[in-house]
Symmetry: D2
């Protein structure tokens, strides 16, 4: 924390602030400048909320300096975390130069639907299947997912096709079930700061895919992951899925710069969801290519064989044959970057 | 829903879109213009996701027309809802020209702290007390609240001073307890789209204060309330607490225009939280005055007798004597608008 | 500037950064903490762009500390600037507790229109009239204003009714004419960072009303004013008119917290434009009341006697009788705050 | 335009709205639904501002349907526009599968600096050179560019190395000179809605590179281009350079989805500026690759041989050797997409 004093601040005011800091058990480092004095603070273990210093006479501003995250930071672990997802088709690696692809419908509708899609994407070599059994919907009148019945359908997809399964949990009850049936537990964007759910997921025995909240800053995104790690779950995959801005031509604004930003600060891998990130079928392929090119550690893509009959989000689902083309291009672009799609 | 066809769309393409609409059991109304044709759709009960029409040949755009909310709408109930909060000090009305004031600390720290604040704000005539027993915190290392012990302290405040109690629930477990101990259940901004929690709160026997999510549109805010009403709880108070924007001098950007906007579309009352809405003590008083002047049905204000010793959010808490001044000004401004502070 | 070193930074890296700083003629102040070292920098007169230090080995982040504005700052002038606008009806004061009201149409359409509006608002005691002769329009096919002919109409309004005139200049050519015909030169939101125009306005002999850009931070807003003062024009009035956010129910999001924020940092007065700030007639009155209550030094309101026949922005214009009501309420609310509407 | 009536609107109110529409010389198409009636309007040539209908009794909302842009639209010209930039090194094509690369410093500092950079990037095969002679700077105290002297240096770069020159004009005076000295006239983000400047650039005899404003919607961006085309200049290149959002880890949020969005609606080519789009050297390369992968028609990259001595924006400039690597990768990624870097 750095405390900036006004140019009219008296020496006494500077001393008072320093004394207050020392009284809190911290160390004050005054830095006298030509126009004004700043005071550095060291020794804070995070327990003291220093914003209140802003109210002291002569103080202009308090600027936080230390980053609040610890376990997710490269300071704690310098090398890339590689998350291994075990599937009947073989292990899938995420991170450290390994790119994981995930395909499947927005919502689990019927076993026929899931099998039809699984069958069509299997030949592309994709090993992970997604599909929602619990659907957070803006409207209480929209289809909310089949719940455990949906999870059973996904388990059948796993059994029949060998895919690893990624699906969302929305509360502690559904998390118990998702942990049982699926291979990766997804925490959705709307729940990124549902700390009760994060704590439960941090105690789960399966990897967690954590989606960035719609208006989450980078620090908040990393701190949400910190909740998971602080409870003991180190198998965490971050996921960018678009943020909310004034821009109105796409459902969200896909913030691809967050990929190198997360990779710089944290050892955790980060995937991209171009389907929610754009909300329009015509933009999914270009943004998927861009996500691979920016260095994402994987893609989570909504695929439906009959998008215009989908029960939800058909407008942003691509066709299985488009996904096949994407797999091909993803491999080629990854190749340029000396990375591997698995 | 209105489907806009491109200027190069053929008559056959227009016919195809109309046929698709009719095949869905809906009615198509083509509107031929000089440059292009638009097609109105009627008969949709909400079950059909029409966005997929956007993928048909010749279609430029699908524009939603109907609003998705029903029970919260003035269409469903034209006159203002007045929520009554029963307290030992007497009933507090919110809405329909009645303004409710709420004061108290961000977090319940100790009984001494709560009593000290309650004692200092009681003479202002305020009848509702706030304080967090469950604290959603960005960092897992920050104080997370005392839980049920905190609720017991609040119950003691209620007993000793007669205040009605408003406090936040963060998951189904804490909601059971909050419903038992408090008079109003608060759903925080981070949980505005925690639909599992909303459904539970919709079945509660106490009024609910629903805070707007940090990046919630007006429709999403109203739809979150729709979840509550659709489960049977009609005693809902909306609350604006600032949205997230590029603007960096305040913690959030308080969007006061949402007050008349909600009041125009919905019969539900709407309060304002100027403490989280600004995040700075020096802005709480001016924005509180503005909130009353814009027509808010109440204020939720963080008050602490020793803000620089607060365990959380001290930087945005005002002093009891500042709150007393605010009560006075609120009454005067409300008077200009022919409204009543109670 | 504060340079934050990584926790893995070596002592040598810290020394290297310090040496680089000293080589730039500045002074380095290392602050060793438990986890990491920060280095304060003093002596920078603004000429050196220190962001490049971020690229040095071991550096995590560079945090700017000093504010870049000088002449607009309360550091340069502690007491409020009161701008005097000379009109045939008498001087109008803006700032220092004095609130100025401005009414008039979005665009100058005809002399009849301006006279009709002027006649209807005159009895309210308002002394300043607004109306655009140069209209920045999103579309090249929209009405762009009458130019000098429009200014002549405004001059006739001044002559006949005694109002002071505020109108917008959009380039150096129009500014020459606006300076000649009007009493206050308006710089619009789209031109807030048109630095060529700002420099010209800074050399004008009339006061300038500077609107905040649609996505201007507080620092950028103040720096735009700094351009005006640095060229010698100290008679500057800031004006909030709404910023662009994700929120879609109003044309812009009126950021009323910027009023106390500007007043804290700067001695310059700040007005509010609730018409562009909301874009909807139904929100102009509530937000106008809120602007007065938050402490704005004036309001700029679009008034039209036949809004549904207005050539532009009729949808956000209020009626003369609504403006009369607003004047009354503004006086009453100002009275609560011990301020004066003039 | 579509007028949505409230569910409580009477038949008389619907008729009144229709009559008002017909009185404006337009045609009304009522669409009666189960819950409410909507009224389509055809025949509007853009002259009538229909927003005012929103104020009529019974009306809930007016929804614009037609897009306001004409000449930039694919409706006006279906095939891609390919802009040809003539340089001593040969023609550079932009659009229609041709990708143009541009390199150079943020600001023209000295002839030595420009020559040093030009010499280092020439071997990569790049044919276009950028560098600012007129610099829009947030602070009046920052380096504002060398003006015509800077343009002369750029002309010397052209002469000695054969590069085509792209540089910014900030007002009508500088545009006259830029048109004379350079090969492409750049309009910066801050001037995207400086309509006076756009009109002048629309009459220029050189191609124009139009940067997206920091908070410009897609429609506003296209309408700014419409100003250029409507004045007769059809050689327009759009350029995404990041938009302003809450996200604070990068200078701006690069909105790559705008590339396919512009390409879908308009025949004009669109480039990307990853330097301003990210503001950090470490993000320029990843985002450059992503921009090529998303389908951009070119890149505008800040390159400096001594970034830490740059007079401006050194923090976002990459080294010549990094640019060489980027050229290589850009060719490889373009190859995957069957596009050509020239």
């Amino acid at each position: 924390m750095l405390v900036v004093m006004g140019s009219a601040a008296t020496e006494q005011q500077v001393r008072d602030v320093c004394e207050r800091i020392e009284a809190l058990g911290l160390k004050a480092h005054p830095i006298p400048g030509a126009a004004r004095t700043a005071i550095g603070i060291t020794g804070n273990k995070g327990a003291v909320d220093l914003g209140v210093l802003e109210a002291l006479p002569g103080v202009i501003e308090c600027i936080p300096v230390s980053k609040p995250y610890k376990l997710v930071s490269r300071d704690a672990k310098a090398e890339d975390t590689v998350v291994t997802i075990t599937t009947p088709l073989g292990d899938v690696l995420v991170g450290g130069g390994n790119i994981a692809m995930v395909a499947g419908p927005c919502a689990v509708e019927t076993e026929e639907q899931c099998f039809a899609i699984a069958e069509r994407v299997a030949p592309t070599g994709v090993k992970l299947f997604r599909g929602g059994a619990y659907k957070p919907r803006t409207s209480p009148y929209s289809f909310q997912g089949h719940g455990e019945d949906g999870l059973k359908i996904l388990a059948n997809v796993r059994k029949k096709f060998g895919f690893g399964i990624i699906t969302e949990a929305v509360d502690n009850e559904s998390l118990d079930l998702v942990e049982e049936y699926a291979d990766v537990i997804q925490i959705g964007a709307r729940n990124m700061q549902n700390f009760s759910l994060l704590k439960r997921a941090g105690r789960a025995k399966k990897p967690v895919l954590l989606k960035r909240g719609m208006s989450a800053t980078l620090d908040e995104f990393l701190m949400a992951a910190e909740y998971l790690l602080s409870e003991g779950n180190y198998r965490v995959i971050m996921c960018e899925r678009g943020v909310r801005t004034f821009s109105d031509f796409s459902r969200n604004t896909l913030d691809l710069a967050v990929v190198p930003a997360v990779q710089r600060r944290s050892h955790l891998p980060i995937m991209v969801d171009p389907s929610h990130g754009t909300g329009k079928r015509s933009k999914v392929l270009p943004l998927s290519r861009a996500a691979i090119a920016v260095g994402a550690d994987g893609l989570l893509v909504e695929v439906h064989h009959e998008p215009d009959k989908a029960w939800s989000d058909g407008v942003q689902s691509i066709l299985p044959e488009e996904f096949a083309e994407l797999m091909l291009e993803a491999r080629q672009i990854a190749n340029v970057l000396h990375r591997v799609v698995n």
